[in-house]
Symmetry: C2
Subunit: 377 residues, 2 copies
């Protein structure tokens, strides 16, 4: 595997910034004793704000500090024992009606104002949306963090009724493995290393932020600058375990002398005998990459299946998926589906994720005529 061991440090989370919105009011179910039956019949109780968790993260792993002011024979204030009763952690085609929580996860190398503008225009109820970001170390990462936090301070202001449920920011302790200009990023030799590092970043973000009440995870790259405001509802309405829209890019077409669109993400595909044969001839650590002339896979690429005035609700089956925008039922991740940083059936990152999900008996779907748009550098 060409990925150096030092890359591993890239994924070590050495500091974590969590800017989050406190939970205004929470419904808790309090059992008045500890037996099973009592829980299902426990009375509902509306907590005052000061009694509820004053922030939305406070994960179970967080240690409490023993208060230094207590004497040797004093005891700490009595802690509450709280029972959650979560019969309704569903992931359905009507997530708004069923009040389903969604976690939007974004690996953030650069901050684009257009990404944020599009994000806050999403019409899914923001009190059901938690955001998670993972940002690399270094000057560019610092700048992205600062820009993100400036937007957060406005969006999450107490007077903004449309604020998000919570926001978590993870910072990595090293810089991205390769330069990030568009031409360099797409060089075939750099792809394996870059996507292995991206896989580890995605896994760190996922394992750290997925909670017991999450119904859906939307992976949304930081350079996706335009989607329909109903993106989440539209994707979820198909009730698929994994579903991906078609990622295009707006550009100025010199021949036409006008604005135009072109395919951008080639990682959503249906497998081909040619690609299978390429894989069989490969060594165990080699990977098949899509979108490169020097490795013609003859896979059926969703990027090329868009139809003029095609039905945006048309669904196709996929064997590989891209991650620029990708909706996943949380149950798929909880079953163990992650982003392999190592060659998995000669696939890595989001394409390897689709293969791993299929090994877990979850299928992938695509919407060839439903578009999101990538930034044009």
């Amino acid at each position: 595997m060409a990925v150096s061991r030092s890359l591993r440090r890239n994924q070590t989370i050495t500091y974590l910034l969590s800017a989050m919105l406190g939970i205004g009011f929470l419904w808790f179910l309090f059992g008045d004793d500890t037996t099973m039956p009592s829980i299902s019949t426990a009375p509902r109780q509306l907590l005052k704000s000061k009694d509820a968790a004053s922030n939305a993260l406070s994960p179970p792993s967080l240690p409490f500090r023993k208060p230094a002011s207590l004497g040797p024979n004093e005891v700490a204030p009595p802690p509450p024992v709280v029972h959650y009763h979560m019969n309704n952690v569903t992931a359905t085609s009507d997530p708004v009606g069923n009040r389903e929580s969604i976690l939007i996860l974004t690996p953030l190398a650069r901050f684009y104002q257009e990404y944020w503008d599009n994000l806050i225009k999403l019409s899914y109820p923001h009190d059901l949306i938690s955001l998670g970001f993972i940002i690399p170390k270094g000057r560019e990462g610092n700048l992205a963090t600062q820009q993100l936090q400036e937007r957060i301070s406005k969006t999450q202001a107490p007077t903004n009724k449309n604020r998000f449920a919570s926001i978590t920011i993870l910072r990595q302790d090293s810089e991205p493995p390769v330069a990030q200009s568009e031409s360099e990023r797409h060089a075939m030799a750099a792809q394996k290393e870059r996507r292995a590092a991206m896989s580890r970043a995605r896994n760190s973000l996922l394992f750290t932020t997925l909670g017991p009440t999450t119904s859906w995870v939307l992976w949304l790259d930081s350079d996706i600058i335009e989607t329909p405001p109903t993106l989440i509802q539209d994707l979820a309405s198909h009730d698929k375990p994994i579903i991906v829209p078609n990622c295009f890019q707006r550009y100025y077409n010199k021949e036409k002398g006008a604005q135009d669109v072109r395919p951008y993400d080639f990682n959503s595909w249906q497998d081909s005998p040619t690609a299978q044969a390429i894989g069989e001839k490969m060594g165990p650590d080699d990977i098949i990459l899509e979108g490169y002339a020097e490795m013609a896979t003859y896979r059926a690429l969703m990027a090329h299946m868009a139809e003029a005035n095609g039905d945006p609700r048309k669904v196709i089956n996929l064997d590989g998926v891209g991650g620029t925008a990708l909706l996943v039922k949380a149950e798929v991740h909880r079953d163990g589906a992650m982003f392999p940083p190592f060659p998995f059936y000669h696939l890595i990152e989001t394409e390897g994720f689709a293969k791993m999900a299929s090994r877990l008996q979850w299928s992938s779907s695509g919407l060839p005529n439903y578009f999101v748009y990538h930034y044009n550098e």
Copy 2:
């Protein structure tokens, strides 16, 4: 794959019980503005109990309920924006000295009093220990939940200074796939299905409970009834990414007419050319199982490497690990290492986990002369 699709439902978490200890006092770092530099220089502040999170879970995915009592022009109480600064999420050979948090995860089919007695005798500071359980549906699961909650209500009493930081209980929505008597459980044909279901349970528990401040994960099966009280410190002192003690069982030896010990867990092993050759001849969905006469792998089993009066600090390299007691640095899981419910290099569950970790460049170690003991049915 022989595992039926209906098994998938087994892993759906339909209700979650979280009995948890509130955080008495927390150190928070408050940034007074939103830029990066201010965070590292933010003043420390000791919060009063009522200001801190009143429970230890409150994951970022938890939606807040809009208070029904607010009028159309009123706004909710201002939520705090909190920054965590987590430079010290380490996993070192001195976890007590470095105040490292550990998450003990237990798939619980039956509750054994001896398991609980052993657990609460662990000498690792309990305020750094979070517990997570996943329990199947059904009468036996209900009984186990009830028994567990009775013990929790005592252990987590406010007057008990030795209580744990938090406890999370996940309930699955279906029963275990096969009967659980010792003889049935070990039948080779049932192993693949049982261990695939166990893998999904482990993954659900892991993905749901791992938090940003977790340093270590200790997998501890519910039928491990005896360990040294210093188990966590002893295992961590070797500073290995993955380390497993030798799992034995106490029994009455009729020939000797006395109590004796014998090996119990055969899943910790060093690979062999024979096992490799078996794997190469297998179909892609077949798995190699250890400890069965009908499939002689000639792997070097740690169960057979125990020495009379051997050094308990002796360390060996392993290629497969058992999960009865298994200490993992949280970073290994965050990188993506999970328990494959599908054949992964012809391995599943904890053995597949060790293989997956090795693909992520994390090695596994074993302690042949350091013992934990399994319940004798």
